[in-house]
Symmetry: C2
Subunit: 477 residues, 2 copies
């Protein structure tokens, strides 16, 4: 299968056309404006030639038709909170910032659906839903600033995925603009629907390469009556992992099952001095939600299981303030890690639940082998262990060791039956490794679909399945 | 967008090649064998030229490569329990009966996944899962004979979808043979995974037009501790519908919320004389599952809501025998309907939950307008109301009236924001109406995807988006 190489603008960008379509105030070409749209949370960066803030799907359709006629790349952009460079305009062209499409169009408590534009911040939708006694479950760590459109484009997850699933499980339908400029609607407003190919879920997680999402129909669920958080300290990591499996096998499905390994605890404790159990191998944070009676019953049974499995200390909290106190160690991880090393390579690898102990032991041996600080924490309930390699990017030797460690990590994850990304996606940073995981025939099918829908390769080119060696370039922006 | 018309075999089928690939005993050409594979539950039928029972993905790949070389159509077939003619070989060529691929390859209670071949009967997988304290939730009415492969190809639903979702929500990964003969794997064995386009869910519900499914990785969930069934009789249909919404708004998510309208109750009572409340407008069957304490609490609260909303009689059952007694009216529907009229047109239309009363009133007016018996029942919890028009196919006048009624029904469902199919799919029987629902741009994208993956249109051609006027031909087989 041939793949079209870099798209180079055939001509200067038709900026006057952009101004006519979207209004002059919504087309930015000043260097400082372009700089503001040059990077995402991967810290990779590349200057776009122009930034357009469209006001409607029709305007986006016109821009994309121009892109096909003139041959310039277009990069859809939400809040720029992606971790893998998915929104970075690394081949020139135009950033399509969806910022102005930020309305909650509908929130129907009877049908339990919301219809929103892509730039609605996830946390804002959650607050609106809560006012109606409803829950929008996906909860990426970025939810206070990331947007629904970006969440859909990356199929964002979060700690609650153990019980509630990921973004894909809540998207019923979409309005999107195809790369060739057609505005389409997909899916339904109903809970069930099997008419035609599932374009909705083909677009979910396609990282802005198959369409620009302009409207999202989301399923909401009844908000739980009560929530209880438990924090359990385990002398050995295996005990924590066995607890995860035992809880699930006892027919309880907690909302979250978060694991912090010793390296993480040490980093957090050095930062906040909260008296964390730094000599323990693991801290498990469990949360259950549901009707009051269940929450009490499950919390009690989970505490029992933790103790049976060898937990040294188990704390329980029902009210918001005490729960927040238990979560504080988890929330302190990111700032704490920044104190250890200025840089980190954060991989959201995921393995079958039963292989978590293997992965964490592997990470420990990797840290020893390459003389690196590697902390492992995250969503143990679904095997999604964030593996953070702490680096000083000004130290070329450390960076070289880290690069080798990442490659070994990926090989091991795949050997364990896992996946390179549970929730961040591929973007630029993981694209060199994409083919390690994806079956050649499946890759070929993906490329055929991309070519069928984007024959001129204008929409977010160079991402996902085009190997891009920028991996260790991040943080340079 | 041009679309390749009928595929006609360019040459005689290479039957000796089939025999070489699969073994002579697995290639059937006798008229009686071909007849056995000529129809599905739609009762449409067409004789295939040959039937092949492959033993592996590799054999299927060889057959598909031959199909591309010789230009004959291939129709993948599970148990033939589909309702819309999806497996009917209406253009000659070869039926690929997957019967021999019927192994449960793995059932891992720790990772809570099952790996199965396509011809595993859904009910058998459920029994195996139950032995490990696990549940495979999708429960199409056909589960005792339909297969996982067919369930995946149609994204089968069932009554439990209210709480548990549909087949799509349980498929983590697939092995499939693409129309061009590549054996691919998609997805993961992990709960989360966002590497590349979601080919898994593109294949789910694609009705055998994009690939032949040869292996399925399924997510299982902990089996519930307890189940309670409630049956509530409502004088007026609106009361039953308001009950559905009220239960959900009270933050309870029952497993099932089944509605039977008066026409259904009358039909069943005429058949079984069980003392059903034929003067009531609706019977609601509700089921809750979960931990013992919750089941008791929810059953009590649901009973209260039913009574508040005007239910005349509410019965509750916890043990299997009493629950079965409450379900008996629901289970008697199909045999009862057969007594009213020899034929029925069963449409699985779905509307937003809040529009169910509108739909049922519309069906009543349609029955009066066209002098037809129309019974409405089914999955009220997700708006999926099976609308059955009872017909005598030997009465051309009644058939003509039924045809007009179906068209009016479809228009009304779409006007209400609904979909033509909640779980049966399009196949042949609904293909004339496909474009009433699917956006032209979305249809164009689907055709582009089909052409990209099946350039010679050999895999289950003429289904779904190719309008096929065979609608009222069913029952002729």
């Amino acid at each position: 299968m041939k793949w079209k190489k870099n798209v180079k603008p055939k001509s200067r960008l038709p900026v006057p056309e952009f101004r006519r379509i979207c209004g002059p105030e919504h087309v930015l070409t000043a260097p400082e404006d372009r700089l503001a749209y040059s990077f995402d949370a991967s810290k990779l960066s590349a200057l776009p030639e122009a930034v357009i803030l469209p006001g409607s799907a029709a305007e986006i359709a016109e821009i994309l038709r121009l892109a096909n006629a003139h041959g310039f790349p277009v990069y859809p952009r939400g809040a720029g909170s992606g971790m893998v460079g998915g929104a970075v305009p690394d081949r020139g062209g135009v950033v399509l910032a969806l910022t102005r499409l930020n309305r909650i169009l509908e929130l129907d408590p009877d049908d339990m659906i919301a219809v929103v534009e892509p730039a609605v911040v996830t946390g804002r939708l959650q607050q609106e839903a809560a006012r109606h006694g409803l829950l929008y479950p996906p909860d990426p760590a970025s939810l206070s600033f990331s947007t629904i459109g970006g969440n859909v484009a990356t199929c964002a997850g979060g700690p609650r995925a153990v019980k509630y699933g990921v973004t894909r499980d809540y998207v019923l339908g979409l309005e999107a603009v195809l790369p060739t400029g057609e505005v389409i609607t997909t899916g339904t407003r109903t809970a069930k629907g099997v008419v035609g190919y599932d374009l909705t879920r083909l677009l979910v997680g396609s990282e802005g390469t198959l369409g620009v999402i302009t409207r999202v129909v989301l399923r909401l669920v009844p908000a739980p009556e009560a929530v209880c958080t438990l924090a359990a300290v385990f002398p050995r990591i295996d005990q924590a992992c066995r607890t995860v499996t035992s809880v699930l096998r006892a027919r309880m499905v907690p909302t979250t099952l978060e694991l912090l390994d010793r390296a993480t605890l040490e980093a957090v404790e050095a930062h906040v001095q909260a008296g964390l159990p730094v000599h323990a191998e693991a801290l498990l944070l469990l949360e259950v939600d549901g009707p009051d009676a269940v929450v009490d019953d499950h919390a009690r049974r989970i505490e029992e299981i933790c103790r049976e499995m060898g937990a040294r200390d188990v704390q329980k909290a029902r009210d918001a303030a005490s729960r927040e106190r238990l979560w504080s160690a988890r929330r302190a991880i990111s700032p704490a890690l920044r104190r250890i090393r200025p840089g980190k390579i954060n991989e959201d690898v995921t393995v079958p639940r039963s292989r978590i102990p293997d992965l964490i032991r592997f990470n420990q041996s990797l840290a020893r082998k390459y003389d690196l600080i590697i902390v492992s924490f995250g969503h143990a309930g679904d095997g999604n262990i964030h593996t953070n390699i702490m680096v000083d990017r000004s130290d070329p030797d450390e960076m070289a060791r880290a690069e080798r460690a990442v490659e070994e990590l990926f090989r091991e994850v795949l050997r364990l039956g896992g996946t390179l990304s549970g929730e961040h996606g591929i973007g630029i940073t993981k694209s060199p490794f994409f083919q390690w995981e994806v079956h050649p025939g499946a890759l070929d099918a993906m490329v055929r679909i991309k070519q069928a829908l984007d024959p001129n390769n204008i929409l977010n080119p160079g991402k996902m399945f085009v190997p891009n060696r920028a991996f260790f370039e991040r943080d340079k922006g």
